[in-house]
């Protein structure tokens, strides 16, 4: 339970918090869902180049409803625009960028992240009726950094930060940083290190919502 008096970040705030840490010049892939919102929070004067695995570098904001180009969608199948300087290419070239280690950062959602950086974000059952992996495994092993953007606990209050993932892995040891609605945590050799918490939250209270030991990051 989130302690009384502590206000978790809402999704736009979570996206904005993560966006703050992306430096100018990075090539960034944003997963479907909340991670996509990160693009809306990058300061207008900071050039960050957004990659979409279906063959786009340099995506701009969503188009006005009357200016939609039906020939241009992102990985979430939503209409997008191109910035000046954008480039278009095919799927093998796009995943060469991902798998060849050229993407500086990929922001993904997750079901679970383990203290050793293991990521589970593609299926919640090893007997999934229709398993669907998409590009998650490629991104998880290929990008230079994987930052996870997710709620700290599930809707039922179950921790998503765990000692060992119970769901099938997307990739072992992939995650370097986690942004939740309560905290920012680094994955370190000694486990999750808390970089930042929302106002009013204590380490003990955060630990109670986390199924792996927390340490404070040395700053």
């Amino acid at each position: 339970m989130i302690p009384a008096g502590v206000t978790p970040l809402d999704r736009p705030q979570m996206a904005a918090r993560l966006a703050r840490d992306i430096p100018e010049g990075w090539f960034v892939n944003l997963g479907v869902g909340v991670p996509t919102q990160v693009a809306d929070h990058i300061p207008a004067d900071r050039e960050v180049i957004i990659h979409s695995e279906n063959g786009i570098l340099g995506m701009g904001p969503a188009p006005a409803p009357d200016a939609v180009d039906p020939w241009l969608v992102n990985a979430g199948k939503k209409a997008v625009t191109l910035l000046k300087g954008a480039a278009l290419f095919h799927h093998a070239d796009s995943f060469a960028m991902i798998r060849g280690g050229h993407i500086d950062l990929c922001v993904l959602g997750a079901f679970e992240v383990a203290a050793n950086g293991d990521l589970a974000n593609w299926t919640t059952s090893s007997n999934d009726k229709t398993p669907a992996v998409g590009g998650a495994m490629d991104l998880a092993v290929g990008a230079k950094r994987i930052w996870i953007l997710m709620e700290h606990v599930t809707r039922d209050g179950k921790p998503r930060l765990v000692e060992h993932c119970s769901y099938p892995l997307t990739a072992p040891g992939a995650v370097t940083r986690v942004y939740t609605n309560l905290a920012v945590l680094d994955v370190t050799p000694s486990g999750f290190a808390v970089v930042e918490m929302v106002p009013g939250l204590t380490l003990d209270a955060l630990q109670a919502l986390t199924a792996a030991p927390l340490v404070m990051a040395s700053s």
């Binding site: 279906n54 241009l72 278009l88 095919h90 799927h91 093998a92 798998r99 009726k129 229709t130 998409g134």
Partner: protein, 223 residues
């Protein structure tokens, strides 16, 4: 004179039962639905379909083939959100081979490039690695993945000429250029057929060497 322009019926006529068919597209962009719907009419069955997903709208494209019971197996990365696929899969009436999206693109490109197998880090330490050969390079483990060929590739491009040269629009390249390389017979639907030379040499994305037949989408089918 080389002329790869075909009528729709002629283009698809020799696709046989049991064929492996690649189908391009990502989201609604670059999907060769004009060809796929005609393949449904043509009647070939027992097909293996290789495509990034299993479609969604039941009225057109891959779901139409699925609902007609023409597909024995589908090889894809993301079969979610396809009611036609779900209905078959739930009752065990279709085989599924899940392949990570990048591995799918690279396996297809490998088939086109004469590479029978390659190693990748994608899937190591996951259930995708089950039954797969592994090998170490520089102290790191990789999976062996094999080339993925097809008898036929159905793709969509924007413009095409009679030599089969193609250009694309927007995010419409996606899987289309690599699938064109990987099939014994590549058939492209195009929005416009242009004179030889109108696609400038450095604007050709898929050279005609990878394309066997092109079919113009008639205006009435573009609604």
């Amino acid at each position: 004179m080389i002329d790869k322009r075909f009528t729709l019926a002629e283009a698809l006529r020799d696709i046989a039962d049991g064929a492996t068919v690649m189908i391009g597209g990502f989201g609604a962009v670059g999907q060769p639905d004009f060809l796929v719907n005609a393949l449904a009419d043509q009647g070939a069955t027992d097909l293996t379909v290789i495509a990034n997903n299993a479609g969604w709208n039941r009225e057109t494209g891959i779901p139409k083939l699925l609902d007609l019971g023409r597909v024995r197996k589908i090889v894809c990365s993301f079969p979610k959100n396809s009611p036609a696929f779900d209905d078959l899969f739930r009752v065990g009436k279709i085989e599924l081979e899940i392949v990570p999206q990048g591995t799918l693109a690279e396996r297809i490109r490998a088939a086109g490039a004469g590479v029978p197998g390659f190693y990748t880090a994608t899937g190591v330490g996951t259930q995708m690695a089950e039954g797969k050969e592994t090998r170490m390079f520089g102290g790191k483990e990789y999976l062996l993945e094999e080339a993925l060929h097809a008898d036929v590739a159905l793709i969509e491009a924007w413009r095409g000429d009679r030599w089969g040269n193609l250009s694309y629009r927007g995010s419409g390249r996606n899987f289309n250029p690599v699938m064109a390389m990987a099939a014994t017979c590549t058939i492209a639907q195009v929005h416009e057929i242009v004179e030889l030379g109108e696609i400038a040499p450095d604007a050709v994305v898929t050279p005609g060497i990878f394309v066997n037949r092109i079919v113009a989408i008639p205006a009435e089918a573009k609604a």
